[in-house]
């Protein structure tokens, strides 16, 4: 019976990790629904971007207050995880504070953790206040419906509780307090428990310890369902983020082949495509998630719903329906829908009669975009909402001929006169004489 706690611990740990791994595999399969793109180039530059943007949080500080607070939470989160390693070993081996054997350094480590725990706690309270009391505008846009708002708060509560448990666990750990090294913060919390007898104190300490590790496993498994997935996906997402100038929009290769054929007088329209040429893709642009590429889909899962993109968007600022954050959230929602059905159907995509276009993202939103790249610039994790907007416009125009009529006029003019206005190409030099 002495090994029962160890056994239970190992069981909980294994289950937590298994469930997490299962979700990550699901996630990979769902992202793979997207079209393939080869992003294996420029590894050096990509690593650099990841180091700067994800690890170094370089984009976060564009907004100094939330940026600094986020960095505190982020660093706190990472280093406190070292403590989790000790908890895991203790839990399995039945030891108590196994790392304390390393001497005075242990005290320093735990002391630093405690300081971060209290800083994280404070930062999270400020975050909560900004969201719920100051009601900063970008957290209350129409797409921030009940679940996204709850999700954000859930995470904050999670962090408050985890940090609280960590400090309580240390404060009620009598041997640790007696050691009097590393209890930089918890020594001030310990007196709150001074009237409690030894036995109960130990009981509280054990409870805090168990809840802490269970909480961490719970947190880990909450990620998949949350905008908090960004703490993992920010890394690959910034790695694969575009290296081109922001103004550069990809040229659709399938169109290039067709245009070349049309323009080449010697081309044989009935010639079989060369072997290295891919089979004609059936569709131009995107009306649903499977028409997007995997990076765009990963973008959707990475989105933190912070709304920095939307608050910089000229269309959104002037009251239009378009919100680049909503584009990303809709893409994720639809992707989840398609992905779940697909996984339940042996990996085959199920036609549910719905699509990303119209059922989630309206045409009005798509046509309001000025392609100004403000959203792309603002995103702290290298998400490109504009690329999805453009792919959906392409579908509307090339597959549906459904551009607004003024744009159709503009395009007819280009076709006929080589200018977006109805002027004759032969008059192009008239300005010299005017």
């Amino acid at each position: 019976m002495a090994y029962l706690p160890n056994f239970i611990f190992a069981l909980i740990l294994a289950y937590g990790i298994w469930f997490f791994a299962r979700n990550i595999i699901r996630l990979k399969k769902i992202i793979a629904i997207g079209r393939d793109v080869d992003l294996s180039d420029n590894k050096g530059e990509r690593w650099k971007n990841m180091a700067m943007i994800a690890l170094g949080q370089s984009k976060m500080v564009a907004r100094p207050l939330s940026g600094m607070l986020h960095i505190i939470v982020y660093i706190g989160f990472i280093i406190i995880n070292i403590e989790v390693l000790e908890i895991i070993i203790d839990g399995i081996a039945g030891t108590h504070r196994i790392f304390s054997g390393i001497g005075p350094l242990y005290g320093v480590l735990i002391g630093v953790f405690e300081v971060f725990a209290i800083l994280v706690f404070a930062a999270v309270i400020i975050f909560w206040t900004r969201r719920n009391i100051s009601r900063i505008k970008r957290f209350w846009s129409p797409e921030m419906t009940k679940w996204p708002r709850n999700d954000a708060n859930n995470i904050l509560y999670f962090e408050m509780i985890l940090m609280g448990l960590f400090l309580v666990m240390n404060a009620t750990d009598t041997p640790f307090q007696e050691m009097n090294s590393g209890n930089w913060i918890s020594q001030y919390i310990a007196p709150w428990f001074s009237s409690i007898d030894e036995g109960t104190l130990h009981y509280i300490e054990r409870t805090a310890w168990w809840l802490h590790i269970i909480g961490i496993l719970g947190f880990l498994n909450y990620l998949y369902y949350s905008k908090h997935l960004h703490i993992l996906l920010a890394f690959p997402n910034t790695y694969y983020g575009s290296l081109q100038p922001k103004g550069q929009l990809d040229n659709l290769e399938s169109v290039t082949n067709e245009v070349k054929l049309m323009m080449d007088p010697n081309a044989d329209p009935f010639a079989a495509p060369a072997d290295d040429q891919e089979a004609e893709p059936g569709k131009f642009g995107a009306s649903d998630v499977q028409d997007l590429n995997w990076l765009q889909l990963m973008n959707a899962y990475t989105c933190t719903e912070c709304g920095r993109c939307t608050s910089e968007c000229p269309a959104n600022q002037t009251g239009k329906k378009l919100s680049p954050r909503k584009i990303m959230m809709d893409t994720r929602d639809r992707l989840e829908e398609v992905g779940k059905a697909m996984l339940a159907n042996n990996g085959e995509i199920v036609d549910d009669g719905k699509q990303l276009l119209d059922d989630h993202i309206s045409r009005e939103e798509l046509w309001a975009c000025t392609s100004c790249n403000a959203c792309v610039e603002a995103c702290p994790v290298s998400i490109n909402p504009l690329s999805i907007i453009m792919d959906m416009r392409r579908y509307l125009v090339m597959e549906q001929s459904a551009a607004p009529s003024e744009l159709n006029n503009m395009m007819t003019n280009i076709e006929n006169n080589g200018a977006p206005w109805p002027y004759n190409q032969m008059d192009r030099l008239n300005w010299v004489k005017e």
Partner: protein, 263 residues
Amino acid sequence: MNDSIKVPTMADFMAQGKSPEVLFWVGCAGSFDDRAKKITKAFVKLLNQAEVEFAVLGTEESCTGDPAKRAGNEFLFQMQAMTNIEILNAYEIKSIVTACPHCFNTLKNEYPELGGNYEVVHHTQFLNQLIADGRLSVEGGHFKGKRITFHDPCYLGRANQVYEAPRDLIKKLDAELVEMKKCRQNGLCCGAGGSQMFKEAEEGDKEVNVERTEQALETKPEIIAAGCPFCNTMMTDGIKAKEKEQDIKVLDVAEMIAQAKDL
């Protein structure tokens, strides 16, 4: 004012068996839009003054395809691009200057993959180079000490990281450059990009150009400087909407340099 300008075409150069230093890509706005034509002429005057051997394509130039591409019509874009590339390559064009950031972006970033490889610069970069090479001088003229704010065109700034070239020119006019709260990579769009120029805006509570004009007005400028014919139109309309057209002018950076030299 000296209104005689020399604008040789590529065909002229070809006929003489010569090739120009640079091709001036005028663009559709620069060719047809009344306001933008003034910018085109101002730039040409500067080129003439600096004795730059440039040429235009004239009637052989056609839309780069940018508005079609941003509207989603990749077919039309690539048709335009390939037609233009055929002509540019036939003339063995190596370098291009343009006063339109949309043409600039498309020629520079989207043509190479389709077989059009040129060195492309924006006219503000080109003018800076002329000054650096001692081929063109700048005087403050009546711009000396004027409060000028510069509106970053999205396709020059964020899209291609060109922030300093137009500002350097304004500073050379001995003017007081005042920045809007939203400038450089955080600059707000004028509202014309992504083909919005050619359609009514979606329903909202304000026009983007009015919002941007208000941001510009916060700096209490005497002149709003632009580097794009479309931004120019949008900001001019914004100023009109705010009934400020008597007090505040919207000018392209090239126009200011030319006017300061009494060209």
